[in-house]
């Protein structure tokens, strides 16, 4: 199975990746090459086999509801590209 250029462009939008034309061409070929390779697992018989989602037999890791010292606000905003007081600032949404 090979994806069309349009389909791969749609995946890039879903992945929130802006790709220039040269980059897209390069990625397009390799993407299909890898896709054909990983598809080979469909030749393996997995009838009646359960999937392994987690390797550890742990479920619902709880902790007691105790207050801990969180990061100080100045530390939280240390790496923010843009902030406005105690908010992260983003471009206009509406």
């Amino acid at each position: 199975m090979k994806l069309t250029r349009e389909e791969v462009r749609q995946v890039a939008v879903l992945a929130r990746l802006a790709l220039n034309e040269e980059e897209f061409n390069e990625l397009y070929g390799k993407f299909n090459e890898v896709l054909e390779f990983v598809e080979t697992i469909n030749n393996i018989d997995t009838e009646n086999v359960e999937p392994t989602y987690y390797l550890m037999p742990v479920q619902n890791v709880w902790r007691s509801d105790e207050a801990h010292q969180p990061l100080a606000p100045e530390d939280v905003f240390l790496d923010a590209p843009e902030r406005d007081g105690s908010f992260f600032k983003v471009p206009r949404i509406l």
Binding site: L3, V8, V11, A12, V13, L14, A15, R16, L17, A18, L19, N20, E23, E26, L27, K30, F31, E33, V34, L35, F37, V38, E39, T40, I41, N42, I44, T46, V49, E50, P51, T52, Y53, Y54, L55, M56, V58, V61, R63, L71, D75, V76, L78, D79, A80, P81, E82, F88, V90, P91, R92, I93
Partner: protein, 497 residues
């Protein structure tokens, strides 16, 4: 041997006897970095002043009569995906060029408590995606054994630094072989412990169901000492195991008589370089000579681990890397014409400009295999294949104490040779990937040389049986000279790289 060639254990003994100080050791390692790192390029960031200050503090504490842990005063490097408070942590990506973590990873906290001396942050494939360190967004790292060759990856910086004496030991991470394969390429010991043994809190995630912190050391005893310091339950990592941690040095008995060792024959197939096969066979003979019972066994699903991994790992990566959106930290794209992007444009440009080509390929693949209509055919199917792989290991460990394979089918590649062929690179990890798929512990240790290049052997054990592989690895090491060999480094005077 020179100071920078010695192990953690040897240097600890010398410090305890008072024949050397932590500051002296640290100065030697820093000088080594200054002398050779222009050629090797293992370091992204060197923390010279902090290292000297930390070493001096250890010396003072020792002078005051304090009994210190084995790692106190020993210089180490950290892969640049392990968060260090106040020290730039880049994942070798433009996305995190300027990222200064506000907290330490749990492993860093643990090392700090031991009085460890951090000399700096080490180069890697961007976000740990790669097998050569050529996907670093900054520069490739060179193999100390042959500067024209890659050090392996993605923990290429850590492995090259330890091999070159630019760090006494290092921590890396291992999602599909990223600690073991570079250890093999650089002629040192690399351990990927059981999934859940070491906390990943503060280690930038790649594929959360596969990621584990790895160690890079010059020998097996050092590996045990480092594991002692960093293993253990951490409530900050949901997949952290609440198991008792033994003293791993107690397994270093030197005796492996009667140990049953299985060699999966499917992993000695077409791809295996005959020069690696030759060295590996001699290593098996050595294990037999030491009293182990070495047998060929069958692991029919070994080959399916690679394609299944390249569905699961990108799927998890596409989700984990969604956090890089230009809002809270990291790079944000800004239009150069003075206008403003809208939110979607900002996301897309930020990620398009911030990530390199291999990271983009994997995010794309992950996004696709999780998209509606594809989930069952790819992701769910891969998780079922993963069950088959786990079952096969379980079956094999009923008959064998450990399994052994070469760590990599190949000798270190020449720089630039494989970087454009993703499938070839993916196959180069085909002996290490199945181990992560099952969450098992495995070690790579030097088992010989081919054409002057190191060859590594991988030992695999059941979950939480790190002691078993340390025992076999240690016995092998004590009866072979390979772990004592150091690369013959000469400065490339007047040349540029």
């Amino acid at each position: 041997m020179e100071i920078f060639d010695l192990t953690v254990y040897q240097l600890k003994e010398m410090m305890e006897k008072g024949t050397i100080t932590a500051r002296e050791i640290t100065s030697v390692v820093l000088a080594r970095i200054r002398q050779f790192d222009a050629d090797i390029r293992a370091y992204v960031t060197v923390t010279e002043e902090d290292a000297l200050a930390a070493a001096q503090e250890v010396d003072q504490r020792r002078k005051d009569g304090e009994k210190l842990p084995p790692l106190a005063g020993i210089p180490l490097g950290l892969k640049d995906n392990i968060c260090t408070k106040g020290v730039r942590t880049t994942c070798s990506s433009h996305m995190l060029d300027n990222f200064i973590p506000p907290y330490n990873a749990t492993v860093v906290e643990k090392l700090n408590k031991c009085g460890a001396v951090l000399t700096g942050k080490l180069n890697m494939d961007e976000f740990a995606m790669g097998s050569t360190t050529e996907f670093s967004a900054f520069f490739p790292t060179h193999n100390p054994w042959d500067l024209e060759r890659v050090p392996g990856g993605s923990s290429g910086g850590p492995a090259a630094a330890v091999a070159a004496g630019e760090a006494i030991y290092a921590l890396g991470s291992d999602t599909g072989g990223s600690a073991r394969q570079p250890a093999s390429f650089c002629g040192i010991v690399g351990m990927k412990p059981t999934y859940g043994l070491i906390s990943r809190s503060g280690v930038v995630p790649f594929a959360s169901s596969l990621d584990q912190v790895g160690t890079l050391t010059k020998d097996v005893r050092d590996c045990a000492l480092v594991l002692n310091a960093i293993a253990g339950h951490d409530p900050k990592d949901n997949a952290s195991a609440a198991v008792d941690i033994p003293d791993y040095t107690t397994f270093l008995t030197g005796n492996i008589k009667g140990k049953k060792i299985g060699v999966p024959k499917e992993q000695l197939g077409d791809r295996l370089d005959p020069r690696v096969a030759d060295v590996f066979k001699k290593a098996l003979d050595k294990l037999e000579e030491l009293g182990a019972v070495v047998d060929e066994c069958s692991f029919p699903h070994a080959a399916s681990a690679v394609p299944a991994y390249h569905i699961i790992a990108p799927a998890e990566a596409s989700s984990n890397l969604a956090r890089f959106d230009g809002v809270r930290y990291g790079y944000r794209a800004v239009p150069d014409d003075g206008k403003e992007y809208d939110l979607l444009e900002m996301y897309m440009k930020t990620r398009g400009e911030g990530f390199g080509p291999e990271v983009k390929r994997r995010i794309m693949m992950g996004t696709y295999v999780l998209s509606s209509g594809c989930y069952e055919k790819f992701y769910l199917k891969a998780l079922k294949v993963r069950t088959l792989i786990r079952n096969e290991y379980q079956r094999l460990f009923q008959d064998y104490d450990v399994l052994v394979t070469p760590t990599s089918p190949y000798l270190p590649f020449r720089l630039g040779d494989e970087v454009d062929d993703p499938l070839e690179l993916y196959h180069s990890d085909s002996y290490t990937i199945p181990v992560n798929m099952a969450g098992l512990p495995a070690i790579s240790l030097p088992c010989g040389f081919a054409e002057g290049l190191p060859v590594g052997m991988q030992l695999i054990a059941p979950a939480f049986a790190e002691g078993r592989i340390l025992q076999v690895a240690h016995a092998f090491e004590q009866n072979t000279p390979y772990h004592q060999q150091r690369p013959p480094l000469k400065e490339k005077k007047g040349s540029e790289s």
